[in-house]
Symmetry: C2
Subunit: 347 residues, 2 copies
């Protein structure tokens, strides 16, 4: 492994079939560019101007209920329409297809001041149960074949409201990223009769170089092919195609994994750590998706401090993703924080 800590190289992501450029020698380059706001604000537990707080009125005039834990509603500005016209345009190199879908917002807690990192494990478990029931009900709808659960956290990640919330966009066809992972997992499964992530976990649990945390049912690790500086992935140890297959008694362990990861993220740069997270899982298309092994990924942009982020711009947009610090260094830093969390009984 030492070559990968010294020389410019590329690493392969077997889930997507794409490469990332790693420049370990460059980790100490100075930064004189844009800095983000440090996000040290403290918020009230209820904000009368927040359209996600309980009892408040939203843009479309609807009033939120006085919810006590998790609250889900259809996005007032949904990017996908449920009953819009079906059409298909196929004129030479100009090709488009109608895409239908349902977009929902999920408030994680009525407490405006909290994020997942501040919530207790039992409350995170309630969020997971809601993800499960939304996944089930959306997946059953006609014309919905894929359900994307995600969260944008922090202004730098385009989040326009600091109230703890995520989103669920469900749609008729498989989006690009999911379609890549579908193909690569299928090919792997056919050849090996194990899911790709099952075999990958075996390797990682032996190497122990990129493991951040584990409990009986879950592993939190920085994947070998991570793109973002402190990217991490939560993977169930047992192959499960989607979160419905997660046994009820293990949802608390998934909640623990989320809790540990978000808590150490906040500790890393002493800031409410921004990220986009998302769960990739099998399509809801009634096909045999036994090649799927669901996982939750976190893509956080911060690189060196609460204010200096990694920019995925010119070279990254036209060429490929690029990173400086290695996944191994990032994993060690995060693991150290996770170990401290337990020693300090902060958890």
């Amino acid at each position: 492994m030492e070559n990968t800590q010294e020389y410019s190289h590329k690493r392969f992501n077997p889930l997507t079939g794409e490469w990332v450029l790693v420049s370990p020698h460059r980790a100490k380059r100075p930064w004189q560019g844009q800095e983000e706001d440090a996000n040290q604000e403290t918020r009230p537990t209820h904000d009368p101007d927040c359209y996600l707080c309980s009892g408040n009125t939203r843009a479309n005039g609807e009033k939120n209920p006085d919810y006590e834990d998790v609250f889900v509603f259809v996005n007032d500005f949904s990017a996908l329409q449920k009953d819009s016209k079906q059409f298909s345009l196929n004129d030479g190199l100009i090709k488009a297809e109608a895409e239908q879908g349902i977009c929902k917002v999920i408030c994680f807690s009525p407490d405006h001041s909290k994020s997942l990192a501040d919530m207790n494990v039992k409350d995170i478990q309630k969020v997971i149960h809601t993800w499960q029931s939304e996944f089930t009900s959306l997946g059953k709808q006609s014309n919905i074949n894929y359900v994307q659960i995600f969260e944008n956290k922090g202004a730098v990640m385009g989040c326009s409201n600091p109230h703890p919330h995520g989103q669920i966009w469900s749609q008729s066809t498989l989006p690009n990223e999911v379609s890549k992972k579908d193909i690569h997992q299928k090919t792997y499964y056919k050849q090996n009769n194990n899911t790709l992530l099952q075999d990958y976990l075996k390797q990682e649990l032996k190497l122990k170089e990129r493991i951040v945390f584990e409990n009986r049912a879950f592993v939190v690790l920085v994947p070998f092919w991570a793109i973002w500086p402190y990217e991490a992935m939560i993977v169930p140890k047992q192959p499960q195609k989607d979160i419905i297959e997660l046994p009820r008694e293990e949802t608390i362990l998934f909640a623990e994994a989320i809790s540990v990861l978000t808590k150490i993220y906040d500790k890393l740069f002493n800031t409410s750590f921004p990220y986009s997270s998302g769960i990739h899982q099998a399509p809801t298309n009634n096909e045999n998706n036994e090649h799927w092994h669901w996982h939750m990924s976190f893509y956080p942009p911060l690189l060196r401090s609460a204010t200096v982020k990694k920019f995925m711009v010119g070279y990254e947009m036209f060429g490929m993703a690029q990173r400086d610090i290695t996944p191994e260094t990032a994993a060690q830093t995060l693991k150290h924080l996770a170990d401290n969390l337990y020693t300090a009984k902060h958890f």
Copy 2:
């Protein structure tokens, strides 16, 4: 086409084989999130603290010459190393390859206060001639098989120095984006005996819905599959695999296309318009690359004003790129600005 102006749909990018989600009904959603700095600064023509200005000293102690037009040097913090060790790691699902390369910085002008939009066409032409000679000389080096020319403009695009400059990263293998375009152009060429962009231009020049500007040798258009709100592409009318094939007498027309596009970008929101731009062209691998039709793309993040940008975050990272305003609306706005530029003889 009217369905594509009303209903959620996805559009196909035949160059990459990927889709973009378009939500035309959502263009008027309110924005309460992060706003960028408006970038209204005026800069001196020479800044003693700028490490790109002529005569100044760089981080590594080297002194820039008193250059008069374009100045190129090897990046002091290159992401790719030229003579680093060759290695290959292939252990189950853990796979990496050494990647060698040369990274250069290209100052477009000694005038610290200018951007491409402020430079005259003859001076932009000098930049193009330098791109051509760098492409030739880098492409000839052993172990360099691809040359990526790009620019990150503006702090929001990770640019850490406002001095007008771009970069050139060259490397041993084809990065992801280029490899996708290589495959799709090759397949198309085999089937049709024309380059993909040759046939696409034919369609667009007939439809005239997305053309922003054209001269004898170039078309500036918003591609049907554009991802960024005001994304645009400069395409030579004749199929040419790389910028070396651009006849000397037409470099001025390429310069004109860049000038018009960057000027109208600045007019759009009355700000020095941020973007990442890049030239995709044939690999320098000595293979028959006649299927390649080079083009220069601009990916600007601004959405509604000098301070409100489009965030490619959660759904976009886990699913697929998503846009609200349609490419047709964006093209009309840009075309209108281009027409005015000529009427007002600002050009």
